[in-house]
């Protein structure tokens, strides 16, 4: 018992020094998870399908923006205006590349199956096959090493919160992530497209009878999810570089986040992503580094034990 008390008191003492830096880092990671998780949750909402090839959407966005940054920046040091413009360009190009790959996936890997009323297992195999094809293609075309991405900014501390220095990279992720997630939330809640997505998620057949173009809505859903996933690939690449396998673990975590928050629920995906990012970050202070991923999945299991449909629950058709 005294051993346990000592364990917790020493770790809480450690955590008190590191809490704010770990929180900031965890939130930044969480925003990336959330942006990727949106892709899973949107697709699940309209198709009841886990798009396991979404990891390659993330990777494609990373590589597209990597090449853009290399071309734009090279070995130069951008000034303040260029920094902002390049960041926007990176997000847009990463996003559009992700959207393009996601659309292609929908057209090639899923739509033919949907037209033939294929069983869900066929979608799963198709997704896995597409994922393998894309990442192996990337490995062949771009090489199998980790490439550092030319950064449009120097990552220096911008300000301090409770003694924790907040670096530019984190601020960029928090700003870009917030803008994109809030925009998507409003888009789905208030726009005609959002109503179509929610209608298809609720009852595709009835939505079709009411005049909703199912194919178009599903394609646009993939585009939205792909855009966020691709942009997240860019933000991730700014810190960790890009490589053909870069999507695997972040996408697995994002899928976990989507389930944690309540699959099919947009806000749930955001909450799940942020929670998972922070829990992983804080876990460093408490457990051996080798078990961080174990902690992440333990939290998922724990939450699902009490709330089997996730923190906010599945709200299919009422994603806003």
């Amino acid at each position: 018992m005294s051993g346990m008390i000592h364990f917790f008191s020493s770790h809480f003492a450690t955590l008190s020094h590191e809490f704010w830096p770990l929180l900031v880092g965890g939130l930044a990671t969480g925003f990336i998870y959330a942006m990727v998780a949106i892709g899973y949750t949107l697709v699940y909402g309209v198709l009841r399908l886990i798009n396991f090839a979404h990891s390659e959407v993330f990777m494609s966005g990373g590589f597209a923006s990597f090449f853009l940054m290399k071309w734009l920046i090279g070995s130069s040091t951008p000034n303040a205006t260029e920094t902002v413009l390049y960041l926007i360009a990176g997000v847009l190009v990463g996003g559009f590349a992700g959207a393009a790959v996601a659309t292609t996936l929908e057209r090639v890997a899923y739509r033919p199956l949907r037209r033939r009323n294929a069983p869900k297992l066929a979608y799963l195999i198709s997704a896995i096959g597409a994922s393998y094809f894309i990442f192996n293609l990337a490995a062949k075309e771009f090489g199998r090493i980790n490439f550092a991405m030319a950064s449009p900014f120097i990552n220096h501390p911008l300000f301090t919160i409770f003694g924790a220095q907040v670096y530019m990279y984190y601020v960029i992720i928090l700003i870009v992530g917030s803008i994109m997630l809030v925009s998507l939330d409003r888009l789905v809640a208030t726009s005609k497209l959002g109503r179509s997505i929610r209608a298809v998620a609720q009852d595709a057949e009835t939505a079709s009878l009411m005049g909703v173009n199912i194919d178009r809505t599903i394609a646009l859903t993939f585009i939205l999810g792909g855009f966020l996933g691709g942009a997240a690939g860019y933000l991730y690449g700014l810190s960790f570089g890009v490589v053909y396998t870069m999507g695997f673990t972040p996408a697995l975590k994002a899928f976990t986040a989507a389930v944690l928050g309540g699959i099919g629920n947009l806000r749930g995906a955001v909450i799940g992503g942020l929670l998972l990012g922070v829990v992983e970050s804080m876990a460093v202070a408490f457990v051996n580094g080798a078990y961080i991923d174990v902690v992440a999945f333990a939290v998922l299991v724990l939450v699902l034990l009490f709330r089997p449909t996730g923190i906010l629950g599945e709200r299919l058709g009422r994603t806003a």
């Binding site: 199998r144 980790n146 960790f240 570089g241 673990t249 992983e280």
Partner: protein
């Protein structure tokens, strides 16, 4: 019916012809009276994957040695190289080892390159009597517990390198509080354990931790683990970090340490001694100042003069100084060729393989990295004094620099 009978007869004749051809294919290496017999020296190492550059360096060394040996015209046989890409993985290496064993012209292997892959592949080579001469598998434990004495290496093990690294950190760089990290690999955890033990013996305060290889580098862990780790390192107050692992993950750690503002001494071993460390570190400048070590045999171990010119043609311009373990692979290949020339290559394939293996245990060969003779456990003879090199990533405008940085030798043990 008649037609069917003739078809059957044709099939029988064709099958018989094929059966007769099989043994001829099997002995194709020696069937031509005029031509020299052909033997294959295999190379097993990572030629793809997150840490492929080290393996590619060694492939160049093997290729160079075989090209030179064939061109000399002095060999009573013709050599061919065969590449077995294990991606440095202990999971993939058994399949590659089995493919090498099945090659009926293969008589010896350079490699495997990585320690974990070596551990997993050795039983297959051992059963077939194939000598494996590794240019780079440094895990100390490899020299024990492998039956049949087929494992040898032309570099000193991590027991020598790890002790030298700990001494460098504690005595030369005055690190008093050291964090020793590893990537969970057979190589990384072994090297880290030696460093931790030796640093403690040198009176440093040591803490150890393990962070598995990330998905950016062929593992499964999240790369974001390094962000939190770096935060913890900064607040822990350690003035030195040693990383046992390969350059890909080490680069991610360096990027995170840079972001977290860590200013202490950072060092890693030979698994990270590659310019690919700099190119994979985000930003490149985050690798500046980092110390590295390698069981490279001293700066004299690199190619010079005509050898360097010949090597540059194969390496597409990468100098031997920037291609860690290429000279060792060159020496490993040449020591095998020397053994092949000393034994009578007659009898069955297995007999040839075993004869070469046994000869390698007796041989003393003067290579460009030093004199190569093996102890009974496969370790290189000698104490390793002066054989562990220390390097630092420094700003450089020299040819081959990566983003304005290069790896420069700063001393040896």
């Amino acid at each position: 019916m008649k037609i069917r009978s003739s078809k059957v007869a044709s099939l029988v004749v064709a099958s018989a012809a094929m059966l007769m051809t099989v043994p001829m294919i099997g002995t194709a290496a020696t069937s031509s009276a005029a031509a020299k017999p052909v033997y294959v020296i295999g190379y097993e190492g990572p030629l793809s994957g997150g840490n492929a550059q080290l393996g590619i360096n060694m492939k160049w060394g093997v290729e160079f040695a075989i090209q030179q040996a064939n061109a000399s015209g002095k060999l009573p046989f013709t050599l061919q190289a065969k590449w077995y890409d294990d991606q440095g993985s202990g999971t993939l290496s058994p399949a590659q080892a089995q493919a090498a064993v099945a090659n009926n012209q293969l008589v010896a292997v350079v490699g495997p390159a990585f320690s974990g892959a070596t551990k997993a592949a050795e039983p297959f080579y051992s059963n077939a009597g194939i000598a494996t001469v590794s240019p780079s598998a440094t895990a100390a434990a490899l020299a024990t517990g492998i039956s049949n004495n087929n494992f040898m290496r032309v570099v000193y093990g991590d027991d020598v390198q790890g002790s030298a690294d700990a001494k460098f950190l504690v005595s030369t760089k005055h690190v008093s509080k050291l964090l020793v990290l590893d990537d969970g690999s057979f190589y990384g955890s072994g090297l880290a354990a030696v460093v931790a033990t030796a640093a403690k013996a040198d009176h440093a305060t040591v803490t150890s931790n393990s962070y598995p290889q990330s998905s950016n580098c062929g593992g499964l862990a999240s790369s974001t683990q390094y962000t939190s780790l770096a935060t913890q390192i900064v607040s822990s107050g350690v003035n030195g970090v040693f990383y046992g692992g390969y350059y890909c993950d080490f680069g991610l750690l360096l990027g995170a340490l840079h972001t977290a503002g860590y200013t202490g001494v950072v060092m890693s071993g030979d698994g990270s001694e590659s310019t690919a460390l700099i190119s994979g570190t985000q930003p490149n400048s985050a690798a500046a100042g980092v110390y590295l070590s390698a069981a490279g045999g001293g700066s004299g171990g690199n190619f010079t003069g005509a050898l360097e010119t010949g090597f540059l043609k194969i390496s597409h311009g990468v100098t031997s100084a920037n291609a860690l373990y290429a000279p060792q692979a060159y020496d490993a290949t040449n020591v095998i060729i020397a053994a092949m020339q000393k034994v009578s290559l007659t009898g069955s394939l297995e007999a040839k393989r075993i004869a070469i293996r046994d000869e390698l245990h007796k041989i003393s060969y003067k290579g460009i990295t030093g004199t190569i003779a093996f102890q009974s456990d496969g370790n290189l003879a000698g104490s390793g004094a002066g054989q562990i090199d220390f390097y630092q990533v420094t700003a450089s405008s020299a040819t081959g620099n990566v983003g304005g940085y290069a790896i420069t030798q700063v001393g040896h043990n």
